[in-house]
Structure formats: structure tokens, C-alpha cells
């Protein structure tokens, strides 16, 4: 066990929120085709509100602070906020598209002791990257920013969200990151919009492409190990919980709303109305999230992948049930190992059996529209 995982375990035992992802704004200078946010300002927290929140977070024991957006540099008070965060001795990571970072900004980030800058890059080709961001010239500006940051000695990681439009450029982005001296992270996750719109899920890469990713040693290391059949789950697995969301981590929106995770839009309180620590300790929603154990999951508890699946409770929640399967993760487990998940088997069985009773209604009730759309949740490539 590494020192850091020991700290995670201790935070879990003590109920300490070790990590917080704080979006300072949803405004953005790019309009990425896969973005899950709406970019209007609905009343962001002021500088003073954010400063007060940072003090509360420090008092609650938060150590890792990710500042993101939207585009975080759209906040004119960003450096004031980072300075406050660093004075409170947070480990600060900034997520940005880099478009607004020039030499001066890079130098200031270095001076303030920001630990890492994560920058989104979709392709090494401007015509592909700029078509995704819908901002002409954005790749050139992003690359220029990475060079400024690296020249200051900052740690930069390139985050490469892959989707249908840019999958073939994945290795090009990896080479670009290497050339720039940045770390490379691939993310094949496209999530529904926060307002529930699932249309952008059509951008997800098809299953065969995802399978290629899982079998690429440059990306996953030891393929045999990574794609091995899951071992039979032990007792510790059934008592386990899915991820750190709500346990040692949470997400706070620019409007002060607290959620278990950025990918888990279950409103759990608002720091404009309550102290952060009161929400963290007493929110019924967070308590419910924390109460879930693998053995309580109606379908997943019987699944061969239960001990190794990357099941995201937030994605499951967006599919309608935080205790249900996350079909995107079911697919990942299948494509990785070739073994179907319990959810996939159940769906196949249900499809083969057909409905027990077929009722033809003259006109469908209005609630059936979105419900049906949601429950069908087509897998990419399916």
C-alpha cells in the first residue's frame, strides 16, 4: 500500500473529504461538441464566497483541490482564488483548455505552486481539434500554452477525450504530449448533459474501437493482466463501495451546489445555504450514496465483474438508478475481458423472452417518452 493510498484509507475511515473538484464557472471560450454543460452564468459564487468556501474546505480536511469549469480562466479573479487556496496549503490542480494562458499566466501559476495543469487536447491536427472545440486556432493556442507551462517547469497532463470524431488521432495526441514533455491521459467517457439530454452519447466511440484501446499495451501496460477474466469476488468485494464519490470526494458547482461527483448530478446541498461540513456530514443524499455496498446492487452484485468493474454510480444514476448498472461500464468490462456482464445477460434474456403481456395503448402517456429513451440507453456500437 502506498503512502497516498494509506491516506485515502484513513480519510475514508475518518469521513474526511480528501478531494474536492470545484468548478468556478460554466462559462467557456470553447463550445466542445461533447460538453455536458450549459455555458450561461446563472449566478456564480463571488470571489468572497469562494474564499469563504476555501476556508471551510480546508477546515474540513480537504487536501486535493481541482479548480475547473467551464474554462477556469474566464474568471478574472482566478489568480486571487488560487493564491487564497495556496495560502491555505491545498494541493491545487487546474483544469483548462489553455487558450488564455500566455507566458505571464504560466509564470504566475508556477509562482503560486500549482501542482499540476490538466489541458484538454482532442487531436494533433488543427482541423480535427478545432472542429471539436468550435474555436478556430484553439489547438495552436493550447500547444503554445503547454510550451509556456513546461518552460516554467510545471507538471502538465494532456487529457485526451476520445470520441468518434477523433479516435483515429489518439496516437497522434499521445506523441504530441510526449514531444511537449506532458503526461498523457486518455478518457473514452462521454456523459449525458447535466440537464439530462443524452443526445451527445451518440459521440461515444464504437465498441470495437474501445476494444482496441483496452488491448493497446502503450495505453494499458500489461494487456494480459488488464484484460484478464475477473477473479471470483471475495467477501471484501461484496462489502466494498464503487468509488470515492461521496466517501472521500465531492464536487461543487459554480453556484455552490454540492454533488457526490462531477459525474453524479445528485443535488446534496448548497454552500450558500449551509456550511460545507454540515452538508458533507448530514446530507441525506450523501448518506445514501455512502450506504451502498456492492452486495446491495440488484444486478451488479451477481455479476462476474463486480470486483473489477469500473461501474460509475453517477452514470448509473443518470440512467435512472444509482444502485443499477452503468451500461457504459458494463460494455467496458465486456470489451476488456470478453465476458458479458450480468446486466448484458439479463437484457439479452429479456429481449429474447419478449414482453409477458403486450398492452397497446391508444396514445402513450407523456412520461413514457423520456423514460423509454432513458431505459433503452443504446450502447455505442450495439
Amino acid at each position: 500500500m502506498t503512502l497516498l493510498s494509506e491516506m485515502n484509507q484513513r480519510a475514508l475511515d475518518l469521513g474526511v473529504p480528501l478531494s474536492v473538484h470545484l468548478d468556478l464557472t460554466y462559462r467557456c471560450n470553447e463550445r466542445c461538441v461533447h460538453c455536458y454543460l450549459d455555458h450561461d452564468d446563472h449566478g456564480e459564487m463571488t470571489t468572497a464566497e469562494v474564499a469563504d468556501l476555501l476556508v471551510q474546505l480546508a477546515d474540513a480536511g480537504v487536501f486535493f483541490l481541482s479548480l475547473s469549469g467551464g474554462e477556469v480562466f474566464m474568471r478574472r479573479d482566478l489568480f486571487e482564488i488560487i493564491e487564497k487556496a495556496r495560502r491555505l496549503l491545498f494541493n491545487v490542480k487546474v483544469k483548462t483548455n489553455g487558450v488564455m494562458i500566455s507566458k505571464e499566466e504560466a509564470a504566475r501559476l508556477r509562482q503560486l505552486g500549482v501542482e499540476q495543469i490538466q489541458i484538454s487536447v482532442y487531436s494533433h491536427r488543427p482541423e480535427v481539434h478545432d472542429a471539436i472545440t468550435k474555436l478556430p486556432g484553439s489547438l495552436a493556442r493550447t500547444i503554445r500554452a503547454i510550451r509556456f507551462l513546461k518552460s516554467e517547469g510545471l507538471k502538465v497532463s494532456v487529457s485526451n477525450v476520445v470520441m468518434r470524431a477523433n479516435f483515429v488521432d489518439q496516437s497522434g495526441v499521445m506523441m504530441l504530449a510526449r514531444e511537449l514533455g506532458a503526461e498523457y491521459m486518455l478518457d473514452p467517457t462521454i456523459t449525458p448533459k447535466l440537464d439530462g439530454d443524452r443526445s451527445i452519447l451518440a459521440l461515444r466511440i464504437p465498441g470495437n474501437d474501445l476494444k482496441q484501446i483496452f488491448h493497446n499495451p502503450e495505453l494499458v501496460g500489461n494487456v494480459e493482466e488488464f484484460c484478464a477474466a475477473p477473479p471470483p469476488p471475495g467477501e471484501d468485494v461484496s462489502e466494498g463501495f464503487p468509488c470515492s464519490a461521496g466517501h472521500t470526494a465531492c464536487y461543487i458547482s459554480p453556484y455552490g451546489d454540492v454533488f457526490p461527483c462531477v459525474q453524479f448530478p445528485l443535488p446534496s446541498g448548497n454552500v450558500r445555504r449551509q456550511r460545507f461540513l454540515d452538508i458533507w456530514r448530514d446530507s441525506p443524499q450523501l448518506k445514501e450514496v455512502r450506504s451502498i455496498r456492492a452486495k446491495d446492487l440488484p444486478t451488479c452484485s451477481t455479476c462476474a465483474h463486480v470486483g473489477t468493474c469500473t461501474r460509475c454510480p453517477g452514470l448509473a444514476y443518470m440512467e435512472g438508478n444509482m444502485r443499477g448498472p452503468s451500461t457504459a461500464d458494463c460494455e467496458k468490462s465486456f470489451l476488456r475481458t470478453g465476458i458479458e456482464s450480468a446486466n448484458m445477460l439479463a437484457r439479452a434474456h429479456a429481449a429474447a423472452a419478449g414482453p409477458l403481456i403486450q398492452i397497446q395503448l391508444p396514445t402513450p402517456p407523456s412520461y413514457l417518452g423520456p423514460r423509454c429513451e432513458s431505459s433503452s440507453s443504446q450502447l455505442p456500437g450495439a
Binding site: L3, L4, E6, M7, R10, A11, D13, L14, V16, L18, V55, A58, D59, G61, V62, F63, E83, R86, R87, L88, L89, F90, N91, V92, Q111, G113, V114, E115, G153, K155
Partner: protein, 104 residues
């Protein structure tokens, strides 16, 4: 041995978790946890108080340890953390270039 003054580096993240101080260098991401004695030295590292005074007035009194042993341990701890920029060490008092941390 010349007097040594110690000050917390500016490129450091730190937080107390369950009574132990977690400290991370933001330049090389080295992560440390400090025991109670090391935490006391860390918290007293204001750049103005000599290390020997911190050991004598704080460590020996609070942790019931003899001065020679405490000084040896403190020197080792300071050397290790200074290698990662977590503590700055000088033979002269140090002045902070970054606004004072608001330790929590």
C-alpha cells in the same frame, strides 16, 4: 555546527489528517506524512526561530525527549525535507517571499 533556521517552502501542500500532517512537494509530488514530533517542527518553522531553539523549547518539553537525541532526529528530518524543497534551511533568518500560509 552553525545555527540553522528553517522555514516552510512555498511549493508545498499540507493538511492534518487524523492527527498526522500530510505534506506534499508541489514541484516533485513527493508525499510525506509527519509524526507528531515532525509536525511540531514543521509548524514551528517560521524562518526566524533557530532549529536548536525549536528543539529545546518545543520538542524536548512537549515530547519528553533529551536534547541531543531530539536534535539528531530534527537534523535528519530537516535534511530530508529540505532535499525536496519542503523546508528551506539557512544559517541566517529567512524571510517569506510568498504570503504566509494559513495553516489549518
Amino acid at each position: 555546527m552553525a545555527e540553522r533556521y528553517i522555514m516552510r517552502g512555498s511549493e508545498v501542500a499540507a493538511r492534518v489528517l487524523g492527527g498526522e500532517m500530510m505534506v506534499m512537494s508541489t514541484t516533485d509530488s513527493t508525499f510525506f506524512t509527519l509524526n507528531a514530533v515532525a509536525t511540531a517542527i514543521w509548524q514551528a518553522a517560521d524562518g526566524r526561530t533557530p532549529l536548536s531553539e525549536i528543539v529545546a523549547n518545543k520538542i524536548c518539553r512537549e515530547f519528553d525527549v533529551d536534547q541531543e537525541r531530539a536534535q539528531r532526529g530534527a537534523d535528519r528530518f530537516v535534511d530530508e525535507l529540505s532535499r525536496h524543497g519542503i523546508l528551506l534551511v539557512s544559517e541566517y533568518p529567512l524571510v517569506e517571499s510568498f504570503p504566509s500560509p494559513e495553516s489549518r
